[in-house]
């Protein structure tokens, strides 16, 4: 056997060593570029970052004076880290006591065992704990750490208990204007949205945009964080003091009259802004989950925009305006009231079944004669009458910026439900259903030189730190300015002549009562009515229009006895809150108030 020399042996050893090295080298390259390795690398990347979803602040809601009606407060989410918890019993004892929860519930969470499919590391014990509760937990935690334990005693520990702050919707005025503001389902943090009122209508603007940031665990990789786009804010036309005053007036009126419910709307006819919208029932928005218990079944959230009713004689204002505008009648036109008016095969009678003889148009309104208004509508004709009703917007929603507005379809000639007598009954507000907001917008034209303004609740929005004013919108001009002035004058006179309970000393106000019968499946309810009053002032330059509706008052069925005094009460307080001096001061015609 040939002996291998030293150099050859050296080369063999060298090759034996270098070959595995080369194999290792190429294997290393192959491994680096394999799919499995890439997957492992991608997974390891994920562990370097913690994804955090940042919820934006919901936009604030302010009243017309900048006072907060809806904002955001800080609440704490208290939870348990199941990986680090040491003493579930101690945690259950402490948390159940401080957070006012069942001990068994907390213990169950503290000892939660993840199913095989999903790994659960953290469980929420209380979603919205107060600052005080969290401070108490922190104090107990500190006490356990600093306490001196005896030799055989196990140190108590709240390890695993953690909390995190969250922004949560809060309504500092609790139930004030609740039917108008609506509510935000704040307990559902990620998907909770606005419901009813402004919270629903402006939900997209108020909610902002969520962002998800990838936070590096390695501080060297910390980069700029994306800011959530916080929601826009709303400045309302509602004045908090006027709203509170009208809500109190409504509550007092319901208590005094024994009514089932009611609505008081205060509107500025010049620009369509709603100054106050009081309805019943109201509830604390901070405990929104109770609203279903408080709101009676089938009752809308906001009856001012969501409930239709037959308004009765307040509707005569619109019929009279149409006839005056069309030139069918003048204020001096006369009607000989025989106590009935035959129309469509039916005798239409007055509210008291009386006959008033020869009356002019102001007296027609003063005595609220159904016969007179039926005659006027007959003279006007159905085509003209319903054209005017359409131009008043009674066949559609007003378009107010509140969610859940509704309307009742207008029955017109040609519809199966329309008969000849319908024109007569419609003329004095029976057989026709409207919402209070529809009436306010339509009658607002009479108080605003014939121009009908879109009712709105938002005066301005604040988006990206800039205030955007909402311009008033003219919906139409259903009547001429001259007609509006004439009718306002007639209604001022009619109120004064009848010495109405609606009058406010020192102020010229125009107004009209309305007692509406309530339809049932068996015909009209003989024992109950809806009473309404619409009034505006000061007559020569109206700054407000008040609409009152009380449902089924118990003390009287007549609007003149129930709704008119409520109007007077609201108007007398409103002129003070709105700084409207009496006619004598404002027009400089009477005794100077300084001499009083």
């Amino acid at each position: 056997m040939k002996k291998i020399d030293f150099e050859s042996r050296y080369h063999i050893v060298f090759l034996l060593l270098i070959l595995p090295a080369v194999v290792f080298f190429f294997k290393m390259i192959a491994l680096q570029n394999s799919d499995k390795t890439k997957a492992v690398l991608e997974t390891s990347e994920q562990y370097q970052w913690v994804r955090e979803t940042i919820l934006p602040d919901r936009g604030n809601i302010y009243d017309s004076q900048g006072r907060l009606l809806a904002g955001n407060t800080t609440v704490y989410e208290v939870g348990i880290d199941l990986y680090t918890i040491k003493q579930p019993e101690t945690v259950a004892n402490v948390l159940s006591e401080i957070l006012d929860l069942e001990r068994s519930f907390v213990y169950e969470l503290a000892t939660y065992v993840s199913p095989e499919t999903v790994i659960v590391r953290y469980v929420v014990v209380k979603a919205s704990a107060s600052e005080e509760e969290v401070n108490r937990i922190a104090a107990v935690m500190a006490d356990y750490k600093t306490r001196t334990y005896k030799n055989n005693e196990t140190p108590l520990s709240l390890a695993g208990v953690a909390w995190k702050t969250y922004s949560q919707r809060s309504y500092p005025e609790s139930d004030l204007a609740s039917n108008l503001i609506g509510m935000h389902y704040f307990l559902d943090r990620t998907t909770g949205s606005g419901h009813y009122g402004l919270e629903e209508y402006y939900d997209t603007l108020l909610k902002g945009s969520v962002v998800t940031n990838a936070n590096a665990i390695d501080p060297r990789l910390v980069g700029p964080q994306k800011e959530p786009i916080h929601g826009g804010s709303l400045i309302l036309t509602i004045d908090r003091d006027i709203q509170a005053m009208s809500e109190k007036a409504l509550d007092d009126a319901i208590k005094w009259s024994g009514a089932d419910g009611g609505t008081i709307l205060i509107y500025n006819p010049e620009d369509g802004s709603i100054l106050s919208m009081a309805t019943t029932p109201r509830f604390n928005l901070n405990e929104y989950w109770n609203f279903a218990k408080i709101l009676p079944e089938r009752r809308p959230f906001n009856s001012a925009i969501g409930q239709t009713y037959e308004p009765g004689s307040v509707f005569k204002v619109l019929t009279m305006a149409a006839a005056l505008d069309q030139g069918t009648i003048t204020p001096e036109s006369t009607f000989n009231d025989l106590g009935y008016y035959y129309m469509g095969g039916i005798n239409i009678t007055n509210w008291d079944h009386g006959a008033y003889g020869l009356v002019d148009m102001t007296e027609c309104m003063q005595y609220s004669l159904n016969t007179c208004l039926a005659w006027i509508s007959d003279e006007l004709g159905p085509d003209q009458f319903y054209n005017y009703m359409r131009s008043y917007g009674l066949d559609r929603n007003t378009g107010i910026d509140l969610a859940q507005e509704t309307h009742w379809p207008l029955t017109v000639p040609g519809d199966s439900q329309w008969y000849e007598v319908t024109l007569g009954t419609n003329s004095y507000g029976q057989g026709i259903s409207v919402t209070p907001i529809q009436m306010v917008m339509a009658i607002g034209a009479v108080a605003n030189d014939g121009k009908m303004m879109l009712p709105h609740v938002v005066k301005a929005t604040i988006i990206d730190g800039q205030q955007h004013e909402v311009d008033p919108v003219v919906v139409g001009s259903p009547i001429k300015a001259e007609t509006a002035h004439t009718l306002t004058g007639m209604l001022v006179n009619s109120l004064q002549r009848e010495s109405s309970a609606a009058l406010v000393e020192g102020y010229s106000l125009a107004g009209k009562t309305g007692t509406g019968q309530i339809p049932t499946v068996f015909g009209y309810d003989e024992h109950h009515t809806n009473v309404s009053f619409v009034g505006w002032g000061p007559a020569e330059d109206p700054k407000f229009l008040i609409y009152i509706w009380l449902e089924k008052p118990a003390i009287s069925i007549w609007a003149s006895e129930v709704a008119a005094p409520v109007f007077s009460d609201v108007a007398s307080k409103l002129v003070v809150l709105m700084n409207i001096p009496p006619d004598s001061v404002r027009l400089g015609t009477g005794q100077n108030q300084e001499n009083r």
Binding site: Y62, R67, L68, T74, I235, R240, I462, Q467, V504
Partner: protein, 153 residues
């Protein structure tokens, strides 16, 4: 191979030995310097990262605190609270006939509520971070070239 290297080192002159030793030491020093520099920069970056995280947390806390205090202020000055205070002070709403109106020449009622600048306001946007801190070295060179009238490549 090791023997060869050892043999070569033994046979080398004193000068050559010092040369090899010097080069090795220089390489080692450079490696140490680079490593130190890397660690130092890493430490500073990590410190800054932590500081940024702290400041961001502080910002969130302050933001939430402002919101919470606003709500608290709203609750303390709510209608219910104000009415309670007014009642305790025996105050009531004025009746129209009790009011006294005095003419004040030149008086103007309060202007419209402005909680933010109007949308059409000319706002001068001044950068918070100077461009020197954000532009790249390349951008800076281009700026200098442009300033000297040299055309961009």
């Amino acid at each position: 191979m090791i023997n060869n290297t050892t043999q070569a080192f033994k046979k080398a002159t004193q000068e050559r030995r010092w040369q090899v030793f010097g080069i090795s030491l220089m390489v080692f020093t450079v490696v140490i310097l680079v490593a130190t520099l890397y660690l130092s920069v890493s430490r500073r970056v990590a410190e800054s990262g932590r500081r940024i995280q702290d400041l961001e947390n502080q910002y969130v806390d302050l933001h939430q605190n402002i919101n919470r205090l606003n709500v608290q202020l709203g609750e303390l000055s709510s209608v219910r609270q104000m009415q309670e205070r007014a009642n305790n002070l025996k105050m009531s709403l004025l009746k129209p006939e009790e009011s006294l109106y005095v003419e004040l020449p030149g008086y103007q009622s309060s202007a419209d509520l402005n909680l933010a600048p109007p949308a059409d306001a000319d706002t001068i946007s001044s950068p918070i971070i100077l461009p020197e801190y954000t532009r790249t070295l390349w951008d800076a060179l281009l700026d200098i070239l442009q300033a000297n009238g040299v055309q961009q490549p």
